[in-house]
């Protein structure tokens, strides 16, 4: 980090990180993305070489800063280690010591010095209605800023549901025309890390992979990293055995709810929500995620669910699996009772008779009334 760096000038780390700690940090961060242990040294070496320390520009738009707050609570690496040792955070309104023109200068400088290499992180939705006047920073609209900064970015990461597809600001009636970064930056690869908040480790893993290898993790059709969004909550849920066995909490506070039964019937969106919350909990606390504390999944990563489908409405299972039961050897076949056959025969016969009589009438004389033929037909 250069001394001209605004962050380096204002906040020096208290603890000195030696090489051993540093490799340990990298190992933990990489474990989050499922990278092999051996790559940790590579990451450490790459990051230690000063020039490779990636410049990060973090833009805040329409949001609650919850994703940053979530990131602040990581321990491996901790945010201080992240922004002081692993990356060079050159612009971030939340963590900046600088303000006003000084801050804007830092943005321009970072963009100039690292053009084509820096990582742009977008947090928050972007209002598009009325030329985007509903969110302005330094006299420029969010639309202008995001286009300007994204133009020279090496990689673009949208953190949180707001930046990924619109999030809360885009919920009905969406008076500011809020939308996500991929919708604004059409034609550019915007890695999305949806979540409300996004899991910080999914973000760290993605950013550190880009910083080290210059590559992005494998992405799905919505540009979400597959390592985190490849399966649904339901597929990894610790309460899944209850679902398969048909043990459901029927309402909040009932016996089943207290016994930790499946929350599907009180509105869990897990079966249609792609995220790894069940495996990576939040805030460094075991079971700190909605289902872990007994609340149905809200579907916060999914555009079709969060802030659109009511909280306690049940949803369709995306890919139903067999339950804990079996069909018997002689499965009951549907059969027709003799009485039903008789009734059907009588009805069929009556219809045939009626048809015959009608056709005879048709042949006898032309209909006198206007609606005659229709009646007979």
């Amino acid at each position: 980090m250069t001394s001209a760096d605004p962050i380096a000038g204002t906040a020096k780390p208290q603890s000195k990180v030696d090489r051993r700690d540093f490799i340990r940090l990298c190992t933990m961060a990489l474990a989050a993305v499922g990278m092999p242990y051996a790559t940790a040294a590579k990451v450490a070496n790459a990051l230690a070489a000063k020039k490779l320390k990636p410049s990060v520009i973090w833009l805040h738009f329409q949001e609650c800063t919850g994703c940053t707050e979530s990131l602040l609570r990581t321990s491996h690496p901790a945010i201080s280690e992240l922004i002081l040792d692993l990356v060079s955070l050159d612009y971030c309104e939340t963590l900046f010591a600088a303000a006003g023109h000084q801050a804007e200068d830092a943005l321009k400088k970072a963009m100039r010095e690292n053009a084509g290499k820096y990582i742009l992180v977008i947090e928050g939705a972007i209002p598009t209605k009325d030329n985007g006047i509903y969110c302005k920073i330094g006299g420029r609209t969010a639309l202008e800023i995001v286009h300007d900064v994204a133009d020279k970015a090496g990689a673009i990461v949208a953190i949180g549901s707001c930046a990924s597809w619109g999030g809360i600001p885009s919920a009905d009636p969406n008076q500011t025309g809020a939308t996500g970064a991929p919708m604004v930056l059409k034609g550019k690869t915007v890695v999305t890390i949806p979540g409300c908040p996004a899991n910080p480790y999914n973000f760290l893993g993605t950013v550190l992979q880009f910083a080290t290898f210059g590559t992005l993790p494998e992405l799905d059709e919505k540009n979400r990293p597959k390592f985190a969004y490849g399966s649904t909550i339901h597929e990894q849920c610790p309460r899944r055995p209850h679902f398969d066995a048909g043990r459901f909490a029927q309402k909040f506070g009932d016996e089943g709810h207290r016994l930790g039964y499946c929350l599907y019937k009180i509105g869990c969106k897990g079966p249609a929500t792609h995220a790894n919350c069940a495996l990576k909990h939040f805030g460094e606390v075991d079971d700190a995620w909605p289902i872990g504390i007994g609340h149905p999944c809200f579907g916060c990563t999914e555009q079709k669910l969060a802030f659109r489908v009511p909280l306690h409405t049940t949803i369709d299972i995306e890919r139903p699996m067999p339950p804990d039961t079996y069909p018997p050897i002689h499965a009951k076949q549907g059969h027709v009772s003799p009485v039903a056959t008789g009734v059907a025969g009588v009805i069929g016969g009556a219809l045939l008779g009626a048809g015959y009589m009608a056709s005879r009438k048709l042949g006898e004389k032309p209909p006198s009334e206007e609606n005659g033929p229709r009646k007979e037909a």
């Binding site: 079966p271 699996m321 067999p322």
Partner: protein, 315 residues
């Protein structure tokens, strides 16, 4: 082989011409020899834990949709039996007292001499490579004779579709395209991902695949090694003329829903009846002659009524 509409119509015309021109030929039925590389499954009830991984893998491999019709709210995949969207299913046998239990995996048995292919009039169902009873939807007219013929109640019809097909296990032959068999651990196997999906994913090797000879040898080995564990019989070795899918069980096979069949191939019996009815083409000629006579009579009657009406000058 792909058959287009033109070919099908041509075949119809040719068949019609042959039926008019030629006389009915009936000859003694020749049992086709089973190819040496005939593939099959061996299912062992004593190994199955009922995890249904095979059912899920089958759906993935064949692209069949989960059947949620039997679960309240449609949240589980609960086929009660093989059906138009289920090619394999795990069922449970429980004795009246509940102590004797066994799982059972149902799928096509791939008979050595199948009744369905014999009943199929255009050859939509046919034994093809590796003796797999394969289905060609382009040749299927939807008569469902195969359903009637099968002693194991396997072929299923897509009743809910506008253009329905017959649905049955084809031993994942679409996955094997382009792959070749090699001997691995005494069994003929495809590279992973190309063999029958159910056998590939089974965590207990309760269902395995290989050539029929290999599976028979393995079944005999298991019977010899643990005679107390099994009913002393390999179902499918000779039953109904033999099947390529074999079963070992610790409960009597009838309780698993496998029918008691003689060693005579099922279609031989069927063919005897069918060919008896059509012997010398007498029955059809009599039937159509009778119908023709009735029509002729009615026509004559109508003609005479018409002439009398004209005479009356009503019209």
């Amino acid at each position: 082989m792909s058959v287009d509409r033109r070919f099908l119509i041509k075949s119809f015309v040719a068949a019609g011409a042959a039926a008019v021109a030629g006389e009915a030929t009936s000859e003694a039925r020749v049992r086709a020899p089973l190819p040496a590389d005939a593939l099959g499954l061996l299912y062992d009830t004593t190994r199955c834990i009922g995890c249904k991984t095979c059912v899920v893998a089958c759906r993935e491999a064949n692209g069949t949709k989960p059947d949620t019709s039997n679960s309240p709210g449609g949240i589980w995949d609960t086929p009660m039996d093989l059906n138009g969207q289920t090619k394999t299913v795990i069922k449970l046998y429980k004795s009246a007292d509940g102590y004797e239990r066994s799982f059972f995996k149902a799928q096509c048995m791939h008979c050595v001499d199948p009744a369905c292919t014999n009943a199929c009039m255009l050859g939509a169902l046919k034994k093809r490579e590796h003796g797999i009873v394969s289905y060609n939807p382009n040749l299927c007219i939807g008569c469902r004779y195969c359903q009637m013929a099968c002693p194991f109640n396997v072929p299923k019809f897509e009743w809910g579709k506008t253009f329905p097909k017959i649905v049955k296990c084809e031993l994942c032959r679409h996955r094997a395209a382009g792959a070749s068999l090699s001997t691995i651990g005494g069994f003929s196997r495809y590279p992973k991902g190309h063999g029958p999906a159910c056998a590939e994913v089974c965590p207990r090797d309760a269902v395995i695949y290989g050539t029929r000879q290999e599976l028979l040898a393995e079944a005999r080995r298991r019977l010899a090694a643990n005679p107390d564990r099994y009913v002393p019989k390999i179902y499918g070795e000779t039953d109904g003329g033999g099947t390529q899918c074999l079963y070992l069980s610790h409960v009597p096979f009838e309780k698993l829903g496998l029918p008691k069949l003689t060693d005579q191939p099922v279609p031989e019996v069927q063919q005897a009846i069918q060919h008896g009815i059509y012997q010398g083409f007498v029955a059809p000629v009599v039937l159509y002659g009778l119908l023709g006579a009735v029509m002729f009579r009615n026509r004559k009657k109508a003609a005479s009524e018409e002439t009398s009406a004209e005479k009356g000058g009503e019209l």
